[in-house]
C-alpha cells in the first residue's frame, strides 16, 4: 500500500521533468536549422516523392493514390524506427546525468518515445495535405485511425524499454537493432503493394509483423475507407501489451544495475 502510494507520488513529482525533456528533445532537434520544425513536414514529403518516382514510375506500380499509400507506410514506420532508436540510446546516452543526480530512469525512455510521437503527429499534416490534393475522400472509418497509432505507440514504448535495458549491458544491441529495423522496413509493405506478395503465398510475412498490422489498419482507415482488419487489430494490440509488460518488468528489475555498467 505504502509502496504503491510512493510510486504514484514519484510519478506525479516528475511529471514536470517528463514535460521538460519532451520539450527539450523537440526543441533541440531542429535548433540551428533555418526551416526548423518545418523539416518534420518537408522530409517525409520529399521521401514520398522519391519513393513514388522510384517504385511508382519505374516499376510501373502507380495508381493515382499510390503516394498516399507510400506516405502512410513511411510515416508510421519511421515513427517506430526513430522512437525505438532514440529509446535504445536514452539510458546509455544520458549516462553522465544518471551518474550524478537521481531521477526515475524510465523518464529517459518515455520522454524519447513521447517526443518522437509528437513529431510524428505533427508530420501527419503532410498526409492531410497530400490526401486532399490527391482527392482521397474521408469516410466514417477515418474515426478509427487513432487505434493503430495508439497500438504502435505502446509497441514502440515496450520495445524501447527492452532495448534500452539490453543496450546498457551489451552495446552491440544498437547495431543489431539497426539491421532488425531494416528487416522490419522491407517486411512492412511501405513502397510495394501487398497483393502480389500474398498471391505468391508469402503473405505470412505480414501476419507476423505487428508494425505492418498497424500500417495496414491505418491505411484501411484513411486511404481505403473500410473497417479495420480486426484480426490484425487484436493481434497487434496483444503483441504491444506483451512487449510493454516485458519491457517494464525487465527495466524495473535491472535499473539499479545500470549505473554500474554505464
Amino acid at each position: 500500500m505504502g509502496k504503491a502510494k510512493q510510486i504514484v507520488k514519484n510519478f506525479t513529482k516528475y511529471n514536470n521533468l517528463l514535460y521538460e525533456l519532451v520539450k527539450k528533445n523537440i526543441k533541440l532537434k531542429y535548433r540551428r536549422s533555418y526551416l526548423g520544425i518545418l523539416w518534420t513536414l518537408i522530409e517525409p514529403l520529399l521521401t514520398m516523392i522519391v519513393l513514388t518516382i522510384v517504385f511508382g514510375t519505374f516499376f510501373n506500380k502507380g495508381t493515382k493514390q499510390f503516394p498516399v499509400y507510400v506516405l502512410t507506410g513511411r510515416l508510421l514506420f519511421s515513427f517506430f524506427q526513430s522512437a525505438t532508436k532514440a529509446g535504445l540510446k536514452s539510458v546509455s546516452g544520458n549516462a553522465s546525468m544518471i551518474k550524478k543526480v537521481y531521477v526515475p530512469k524510465y523518464i529517459y525512455v518515455v520522454s524519447s518515445v513521447v517526443s518522437n510521437f509528437f513529431i510524428f503527429l505533427i508530420s501527419l499534416v503532410v498526409l492531410v495535405g497530400v490526401a486532399v490534393v490527391l482527392k482521397v475522400e474521408p469516410t466514417i472509418y477515418l474515426t478509427q485511425a487513432w487505434i493503430p497509432l495508439i497500438i504502435l505507440f505502446v509497441m514502440s514504448l515496450g520495445t524501447s524499454l527492452i532495448l534500452a535495458t539490453l543496450s546498457v549491458f551489451f552495446r552491440d544491441v544498437e547495431y543489431i537493432w539497426g539491421v532488425a529495423c531494416m528487416l522490419v522496413m522491407y517486411a512492412s509493405a511501405i513502397f510495394y503493394p501487398v497483393e502480389k506478395i500474398i498471391k505468391s503465398g508469402k503473405g505470412w510475412v505480414f501476419n507476423i509483423n505487428p508494425v505492418y498490422m498497424c500500417i495496414a489498419n491505418f491505411r484501411d482507415s484513411v486511404l481505403y475507407g473500410v473497417p479495420m482488419n480486426m484480426y490484425y487489430c487484436v493481434l497487434s494490440a496483444g503483441i504491444a501489451v506483451v512487449l510493454l509488460v516485458i519491457g517494464m518488468v525487465l527495466f524495473y528489475k535491472k535499473q539499479d544495475d545500470f549505473i554500474l555498467y554505464l
Binding site: 513529482k13 514536470n16 521533468l17 533541440l28 553522465s96 543526480v101 551489451f170
Partner: protein, 246 residues
C-alpha cells in the same frame, strides 16, 4: 523510523565490479560464459554502515581519499542503490553535489532553469515564481538568454547553485567546500548556506578537511576503507581522526 530522525542508514554495503576487461558485448560474453571465464573482481566500497542523523543535526563525514565518502553521499542522495541494507530520509532533500548535472549545453540559461529545476523535482509554478530570485542570485543578468555552452565554468556553477538552493530543504548534502565562482560569490553562497543552518536544516557534510568539519558540524563519523570506524561528538571524533592521519 523515529520521528526525530532525518536520515537513517542501516547496514549499508556497496559492491562494485572492478573487472579490468569489462565484458560489454554479446560475443565476448558468450565465449567467456562457455569458457567459464566470467570472473568478477568484486570490491566493497562500503560495508555495514550504520548511523542516524537527527533533525537539525549536522553530521560530518571524515575519511581519506578512497574511503567511501562519495559513495555514501551518492547512496543517501539516491543516485546509487546500496547492494545491502537501506537508507531512509525524511523531508525535502537537496544534494549540492554535482551542480548543474542535467544542464543542456544547447539551452539558454533561462531554459536550463526550467530543465534543471525539473530534474530536481520542482514544479513549473514554483519555478515561475522563483525565476527572478534565481536569476538575481546567479548574477547572470543579460547572459540568461545565451546558450550555456558559451558560459564560463564559474557562470555555470553559479547558475547551478542558485537553482539548487532556491528551495528551503530540510536535509542538505554537501561535498567539500562550496568553491563556487569568484571570491565574492563564494562569500554570498556561504552566507546562504549558513542561513539554512540557522533555520535548523539537517546537514550531511563530507570532507577530508578536519578544520572545516569542526567549524560546521556538531557530530562526525570516520570512514576508513569502507568501514565506519568512529562516530560521536565532533571534538572526540576529531581527535581520533588526527591520530589516524598523523
Amino acid at each position: 523510523m523515529k520521528n526525530n530522525v532525518a536520515i537513517k542508514v542501516k547496514n549499508v554495503g556497496m559492491r562494485f565490479n572492478l573487472s579490468q576487461d569489462r565484458v560489454d558485448n554479446l560475443k565476448e560474453y558468450m565465449i567467456r560464459f562457455l569458457k567459464r571465464d566470467l570472473h568478477f573482481n568484486e570490491f566493497w566500497a562500503l560495508r555495514e554502515i550504520n548511523f542516524e542523523v537527527k533533525k537539525g543535526e549536522r553530521l560530518g563525514v571524515l575519511g581519506l581519499n578512497g574511503s567511501g565518502k562519495s559513495t555514501l553521499l551518492k547512496i543517501v542522495s539516491g543516485v546509487l542503490k546500496p547492494t545491502t541494507g537501506y537508507v531512509q530520509t525524511k523531508g525535502k532533500l537537496a544534494p549540492l553535489l554535482e551542480l548543474g548535472a542535467g544542464f543542456s549545453q544547447e539551452y539558454t540559461g533561462r531554459e536550463n532553469i526550467y530543465l534543471y529545476g525539473a530534474v530536481l523535482g520542482y514544479s513549473k509554478e514554483f519555478l515561475d515564481e522563483k525565476f527572478d530570485e534565481i536569476v538575481d542570485f546567479s548574477e547572470l543578468g543579460e547572459f540568461i538568454d545565451v546558450p550555456i555552452k558559451n558560459y564560463s565554468s564559474g557562470m555555470k556553477s553559479r547558475l547551478g547553485f542558485s537553482i539548487a538552493t532556491v528551495v528551503e530543504p530540510e536535509i542538505l548534502i554537501l561535498d567539500e567546500v562550496l568553491s563556487v565562482g569568484d571570491k565574492k560569490f563564494r562569500r554570498k553562497s556561504e552566507k546562504k548556506i549558513m542561513d539554512m543552518f540557522d533555520k535548523g536544516v539537517t546537514v550531511l557534510f563530507v570532507s577530508h578537511s578536519l578544520e572545516q568539519v569542526q567549524r560546521i558540524c556538531d557530530r562526525a563519523i570516520i570512514l576508513d576503507g569502507g568501514h565506519l570506524v568512529a562516530k560521536g561528538p565532533v571534538d572526540k571524533v576529531a581527535r581520533i581522526y588526527k591520530n589516524m592521519t598523523e
